[in-house]
């Protein structure tokens, strides 16, 4: 019997585990169950397919129900904090005003986020650490009279491998696998990897611990392979938007929680490339600048991805497509993300086998935003000196400077043809949204599931709508709130568990 069982070890699970250290030091038992493996430092090789298969669910190739969008999320000790870029933003106040969750304010989230920013070494890169790919973005913005913002990032001792999204090979990125989880384990929190939680029941979880597959990365699980039923006075779900929501759905909570699965958003994204006449500096930290355009519904971010993921995200194939990939060392890259909003129909469900199914339709607003973002990116690329630009929502998708006067017609929503253009997401949010009652939400503002005091949600599933910016610091702040409430409630929860 544990006092607290935490399902998942990413931004939320790591935060909750760390916040519960005082409880463990006071004799309470806290368990973290992580579905993915625990990798040793030497296993972060930076090899694209090898690391994607080791660190991402389905190798990063999870598809929405209609196959029109790829969803990438981590599945490892540290969750997606192992594979994100480490950019650390707090949403603007209007985001929380739009959420309309009593008690959730920008001031509260910002105060908590600041604590985690300090804990994780968040800082701005020095000018001499900013590579040419990033510098070209800022220069391109300036040609249009725009000023790019600079990302705070959570690295310590970054050696500029540029491999953040494949897991930092230099142990520089300060995800929960580097900061919160090791500290929690040193204090006595128990972490079990390769532990898949199949079901949640009344103060218990059913767990299947997997053996390490032959040839796979990572250590063996801390527990012997097999099935377990583990009891806890409180259960905190931190498996991410899709993981936590699907777990509740397949555990039969849909009737008690009619809003379960709703309000899913994900910042649908394109990877855009501009080709320069000469090689550009791509080495170094990949994501330094952003340009937020809330009124137009999108944000642009610098990025530098890997050959396969780049090839996959460009529209088309054949001779023209290969020419871009052959020019890889001359490519500048921009990631465009739409500020999608929660709408009916975009939701998470489960199939007959209990596997998550994500239903997502690109709304007219999202299509418009991605197309507008592509046009602006093309201008930035050309402003920075690019000679050719790949634009997914153009047909053909190749733009030259001669197309500049005609961008409004060349890049157009009529070319946004699903299953032809590639759209991906790494910011899954919602499914267990916060609110007032079970009629409008799944939890309260502290992650307490309505009507089930022993059950908590602490991750990005809580978002009642998009965060508009990279969500990781917001996840940590919400997880911190959930942990605070849990500490306050644990005495009563333990008494109830013992009485049961």
């Amino acid at each position: 019997m544990y006092d607290v069982i935490i399902v998942g070890s990413g931004a939320a699970g790591g935060t909750v585990a760390h916040a519960l250290i005082p409880l463990v030091q006071a004799g309470r038992r806290v368990l973290v169950l992580e579905q993915g493996p625990r990798l040793d430092d030497h296993e972060f090789t930076g090899r694209e397919l090898e690391m994607a298969n080791a660190l991402f669910e389905d190798g990063g190739g999870v598809l929405t129900a209609d196959g029109a969008m790829t969803l990438a999320f981590g599945r490892a000790y540290g969750g997606s904090t192992v594979t994100y870029t480490g950019t650390s933003l707090v949403p603007e106040p209007h985001v929380f005003e739009h959420w309309q969750v009593p008690g959730i304010t920008h001031a509260d989230i910002a105060e908590r986020a600041a604590r985690f920013a300090e804990q994780n070494g968040v800082h701005f890169l020095r000018d001499d650490e900013i590579n040419e790919n990033n510098g070209l973005f800022a220069a391109g913005c300036r040609t249009m009279g725009l000023e790019a913002g600079r990302f705070p990032v959570n690295t310590r001792g970054c050696k500029g491998s540029g491999l953040c999204n494949l897991g930092c090979p230099n142990a520089a990125k300060q995800g929960t696998h580097r900061v919160q989880l090791p500290a929690a384990e040193r204090a006595g929190v128990e972490v079990v990897t390769r532990a898949e939680v199949l079901r949640v029941g009344e103060r218990e979880v059913q767990v299947l611990v997997h053996a390490k597959p032959s040839g796979a990365k990572g250590r063996e699980s801390e527990w012997a392979p097999g099935s377990y039923t583990v009891r806890g006075a409180a259960i905190v779900l931190c498996g991410g938007s899709i993981g936590s929501t699907a777990l509740l759905l397949r555990s039969g909570f849909a009737r008690a929680l009619p809003r379960l699965g709703e309000r899913f958003t994900c910042h649908p994204a394109h990877i855009l490339v501009g080709e320069h006449a000469q090689p550009i500096g791509q080495s170094g930290f990949p994501k330094t600048y952003f340009l937020d355009r809330p009124d137009e519904g999108f944000i642009l971010e610098t990025c530098m991805y890997f050959p396969f993921i780049t090839a996959k995200n460009l529209t088309g194939f054949g001779v023209d497509h290969q020419r871009f990939l052959d020019a890889f060392d001359r490519l500048q890259m921009i990631l465009v993300l739409a500020h999608d909003k929660a709408v009916p129909g975009n939701r998470i469900s489960v199939d007959a086998n209990g596997r998550a199914v994500v239903h997502y339709t690109f709304t007219p607003a999202v299509r418009k935003a991605l197309v507008a973002a592509t046009r602006l990116s093309a201008r930035i690329f050309f402003g920075a000196g690019a000679v050719r630009v790949h634009a997914p929502s153009a047909d053909p998708p190749l733009l030259t400077r001669d197309d500049l006067p005609y961008l409004e017609t060349r890049v157009h929503e009529r070319h946004f043809l699903t299953h032809r253009i590639s759209v991906s997401s790494a910011h899954m949010m919602g499914g267990c949204g916060m609110g007032r009652t079970a009629a409008d939400s799944v939890t309260d503002a502290w992650g307490r599931v309505h009507g089930l005091p022993w059950l908590r949600v602490a991750d990005s599933a809580l978002f009642p709508d998009s965060s508009d910016v990279n969500p990781y610091l917001t996840v940590m702040a919400l997880a911190d709130r959930a942990a605070q409430a849990l500490i306050d409630d644990l005495g009563a929860l333990r008494a109830a568990a013992h009485a049961a």
Binding site: A148, S161, T310, G318, D329
Partner: protein, 147 residues
């Protein structure tokens, strides 16, 4: 030699040669390596999905007939590419989805293989790759800080 792709190998290679022209220069060893990667990826997917993709490969070969007068395998590379570009714009989403799925596997088999091997990401196949343990940042360009 791969087995999952065996029943559709000629069409699969025709698709690959149209989608990534560099594969037209593959030797037997490169094909074997590439197809093994694709099979491994396919093998990790549900059986129904495997069958859908293999069925799609067969269908594409025949769909080329009404579009160009010959099966896909019988066409030259440029003509294959034209047929496939028509299919990727097809009004039927299932056809577009099939093309997208096949191209993803082919891109994986080519780009994740020839650019891999410890180089992480990098330039053309002749070199310019970036090793994982690189330490030097590129040239800096100043920009204003906001945030």
């Amino acid at each position: 030699m791969s087995t999952l792709l065996a029943p559709v190998r000629p069409t699969f290679r025709a698709l690959a040669e149209a989608m990534v022209p560099a594969t037209q220069h593959y030797g037997a060893a490169e094909w074997a390596e590439m197809e093994a990667m694709v099979e491994t990826a396919l093998g990790a997917r549900p059986r129904a999905l495997q069958q859908q993709l293999l069925t799609f490969v067969r269908v594409v070969n025949l769909l080329a007939v009404p579009l160009s007068g010959r099966t896909l395998v019988a066409l030259r590379a440029a003509a294959r590419e034209r047929v496939l570009h028509r299919l990727e714009r097809a009004p039927v989403a299932l056809l577009r989805r099939g093309v997208w799925g096949v191209r993803t596997l082919i891109f994986m088999g080519h780009y994740a293989r020839v650019r891999d091997g410890g180089r992480g990401r990098g330039g053309g196949e002749g070199g310019g790759g970036l090793p994982p343990e690189k330490t030097e940042a590129g040239p800096s360009l100043r920009s204003g800080r906001r945030a």
